[in-house]
Symmetry: C2
Subunit: 575 residues, 2 copies
């Protein structure tokens, strides 16, 4: 391999080496289909994020290209999505008025910061970070955010205005404002929403029954949102209703000017934390999509490459003045089903969006806002996951509670409080659970070398040798409880001369627990009880050698429980 | 037992039934010795808390009485201590000027809130809360706080003034102010400090060598601080130096007026969180003292009773206008060594403090502040624990780091940031550790039913049956890593037809991990690999029955690894 060749390999994207020329046709078709979906979604999610609609298209150009260069998933479609748009609106609203010039500039800074965090995390190989959020918390968050989105979009859907500091107030204002419903907007919006919801399950079967080929039927189904928007615009144009309901209005034609966002110090202070949250949640959403498709296609997936690619995608969105983006589930699904072979399909879809920006902006001038709201609501409804809650609740009350708490936190107090509540609940549950470890007094299963819980099995014990199995790693959160449980057990086995702690489930002993063991040894000695350990795992034993324990322990460290039982029962004094 | 008798038992303190009349003499003597120590400490810690000195004595009256009624330790001495005084100053300084009327009122509110939290926690039986702080974090916190205390007391010791937003600035100002040192104050203070430090180790041996009886020698040593303060006051009086250095000045004689603190809404908002922290840290400090003495004396100790007693003690301090209090180590030690038999000794010491307030306040008028600073510094020096850091660091880098981070956080950014850093570091360490669980491919120890790590032992394996032992509970923080490790292992054992996960160390499987297992099963099936479980613990098995796993799992759940190995090696297809 020449140096030039090596250099080319280093700078070409990971999927490039697997690419073949015959894939291009498929990628162009998939790109077109995704673009026809991306345009209505982009316009809609921009309004959800509080941005002028065209910025949803700006945010759909560079991100896909940058993702194609760095990402490891061949079908991922990066762009504006519902959740990050909602998060962006929540971060930007305190800073400036929606649609204002400052708001747009702050949105670009938010995308840039979010991208910078993701890129840095990828370079630092922090891909494992996504593990910090438990599934119930993520599901609860998404459900809560989806409900928030639906509530926020009822206003444009019905053509009413309602505002308030928190969701309850907004809902009350909304109900109070119902008599002011714009009947024209509401009829168009609600009809559109029903068509979208109806088409999702029924378009393909209906077309199949009409004799359309399955592939064409699926493609046509994906064009429903675009067709709906165009028909809505045509309807408004024909009916001359543009003054009777809110329309998008004339969009500036052509491409945006590319520039680094301005860094205001006071904005930075307000936006760095939301940017971190948006980056983290966007990554969690995107990586779980990428994982499920990678498994279907049996492709390798590199979490750190995904972090870098998403980071670059967000910086790309910021360069065009856009807002935060991430991988979107429905678009990725469409991209995969349309036969995309590589991220090149994304580059083609960006090209089609660009063409639309140049030549088709007039098409959207008469587009009624209520139909964008219908598009968003129909997407958000899919995100509400009630069955996940019943499953989690049935399996584990604490986790069901964490999921519900997260969802309610998001709905009632906003996305940041919600996610904070969820993470805190997850960690508290974890500490709580490990703080009350299961410990079992064990005895020998007759005529074997196995030892089992005396409470669950018929086993042989010796009153002089108390054997306790500790079923959890020992750490500061449970050292005290374990000590108390051991003391309790010793109280019940008053004749014990030896205490054997079976460490087969103990993977780690921290400093606090180590001090507890030393202390236990000290208090047992004057009572004539010797402390022994058994089945200490390799890594734990290696570490204990560094501590004061081996020197100070009077008893032995046995390899197996059986050896301890054999030796101690034969050497114990008869009571 | 009559109803009256039962009622009496219910309202008498726990130690009362063990009390005998002959203990009274001992308790009175111990009470006097503790009072002679409590008076200088009370005056000193009040100045550390930013309060007028007499409030240290007010805070030494009701707390001991209330603790005596509710507490379970017979020797605990409750009153002002260095750490909570520092914490109080840090909470109150933003609200009002030290020594001002508002400051004193806010301090009483702080003590009241702290007491209310403790009392509520005790009634809710949250005694296990103390476990949330690991030993390294507590040790790091105390060391950091002690260094902060020493730095803060160098100013009154040298008679200079220096201030600043953070410790580094204070130290720089302090160094810059050194030329303005009040030489008279500094000579008295530094001499006093050396005498205190010297006397701690040398008074008893010197007196013994002089033929004094051991008991008397120990008692005399305890009187050194009081004697030092009185000599200092006498020196200032004789030398007429009261205008040349800072003295306490005339203290109001008599007892304080008892009243509930005023509850200002804005103070409440500022103080509830510091009150919670002060309560928690005070409880951690106090319970660890109580534990060590209870073990020495083989007395039962009830953490929830301690919570209630400390809560009542703080409310008692607040009633007299005092500031937060907790159990003090040195006074408790002196109380125990002086032969105290019950908390009644504390009641007697409160009586002696009351006598001093009535008849001896003039004694303190000429007391130089520099000697109070010397008293505080000599106590704080004992709290600095560098060897604990080396021990922790040698055993575990992460825990040594958490300890150092806590100490540095306290010193550089204040007590609240410090304790927050410590708790966050503990929890991150915990999640991090469990997020990278040890998993081992195991094989059979020849001719036994035991299975051990193939990397550490000579064992028999079958290429068709891959057996993996998971050495940690499965939860959201490690589900992804375990999945990745299993995939990696399957890659190396390409001929595997069966995968057995040995769950002997798995005490809990959360929803995220359960989904991971289901997902693993789904991806293995099309590859012709069957997933089995073995040695699932009772509580885990009980819970799994509630989930979708048993219905969807194609493989079996074996009782022992041996049974799995026997059955699968005989039924596997020859490759």
């Amino acid at each position: 391999m020449t140096v030039l060749h090596r250099l080319l390999v280093a700078i070409t994207p990971p999927w490039w080496s697997r690419y073949r020329l015959e894939f291009v046709g498929n990628d162009i078709i998939a790109g077109l289909i995704v673009a026809l979906m991306l345009i209505p979604q982009g316009l809609a999610y921009a309004t959800l994020a509080g941005m002028p609609p065209q910025y949803g298209l700006y945010a759909s150009l560079l991100p896909v290209v940058f993702y194609a260069l760095l990402g490891s998933s061949s079908v991922m479609s990066v762009g504006p999505v519902a959740i990050t748009s909602l998060l962006s609106a929540s971060a930007l609203t305190p800073l400036a008025l929606a649609d204002s010039n400052e708001y747009v500039l702050a949105a670009a800074l938010l995308a840039f910061l979010s991208g910078a965090f993701l890129l840095a995390a990828g370079l630092l190989r922090l891909g494992a970070l996504a593990q910090l959020l438990s599934h119930p918390v993520v599901t609860g968050f998404i459900t809560g955010a989806a409900i928030l989105i639906i509530i926020s979009q009822l206003k444009p859907l019905l053509g009413v205005s309602a505002s308030g500091d928190n969701t309850l107030v907004v809902v009350i204002h909304l109900v109070a404002a119902l008599p002011q419903t714009n009947l024209l907007a509401a009829s168009i919006g609600v009809t559109g929403l029903f068509l979208l919801l109806f088409s999702r399950k029924n378009t393909v079967p209906l077309l199949l029954r009409a004799g359309v080929s399955p592939n064409l039927a699926r493609t046509l189904q994906r064009l429903v949102p675009m067709l709906l928007l165009l028909s809505g615009a045509a309807l408004v144009f024909v009916g001359k209703w543009q003054d009777d309901l809110q329309v998008i209005g004339a969009l500036p034609s052509g491409i945006p000017s590319f520039a680094l966002p301005e860094l205001h110090a006071d904005w930075f202070q307000e936006l760095w934390f939301p940017a971190l949250i948006i980056g983290l949640l966007g990554f969690v959403e995107s990586i779980s999509i990428a994982q499920s498709f990678a498994q279907q296609k049996r492709e390798p997936l590199d979490a750190n490459a995904e972090l870098r690619a998403l980071g670059a995608a967000n910086i790309g969105s910021a360069l065009a003045g856009g807002f935060p983006v991430t991988g979107g589930f429905s678009r990725t699904l469409v991209n995969a089903e349309a036969g995309a072979h590589s991220p090149l399909s994304g580059v083609f879809s960006a090209g089609f969006v660009l063409l639309a920006l140049w030549f088709a902006t007039e098409l959207f001038a008469f587009l009624p806002i209520t139909l964008l709201a219908a598009t968003i609501i129909s997407a958000a409804i899919q995100l509400v996951n009630a069955s996940a809650f019943t499953h989690a609740w049935r399996y584990d009350r604490a986790e069901g509670g964490a999921m519900l708490g997260t969802a309610l936190g998001v709905i009632l107090f906003g996305v940041e409080v919600g996610i904070g509540t969820g993470v805190a609940l997850s960690i508290i549950t974890l500490v709580w659970r490990t703080s009350r470890p299961h410990i079992a007094i064990v005895g020998r299963v007759p005529d074997t070398e196995h030892f089992r819980n005396v409470a669950r099995h018929q086993v042989v014990t010796d009153p002089r040798v108390l054997m306790i199995r500790i079923d959890e790693s020992l750490f500061f959160g449970n050292a005290e409880s374990v000590y108390a449980e051991i003391t309790l057990a010793l109280g019940r086995y008053g004749k014990a001369q030896h205490l054997v702690l079976i460490m087969s489930s103990v993977s780690h002993i921290d400093v606090t627990a180590l001090e507890m063991l030393l202390h236990l040894d000290e208090t047992l000695r004057p009572q004539g009880i010797t402390l022994h350990l058994a089945e200490v795992k390799g890594p734990v034993a290696d570490k204990l050698k560094e501590s004061a324990l081996p020197a100070r322990l009077e008893g032995e460290v046995f390899l197996t429980t059986y050896q301890a039982f054999q030796k101690l029962t034969t050497t114990s004094v008869q009571p």
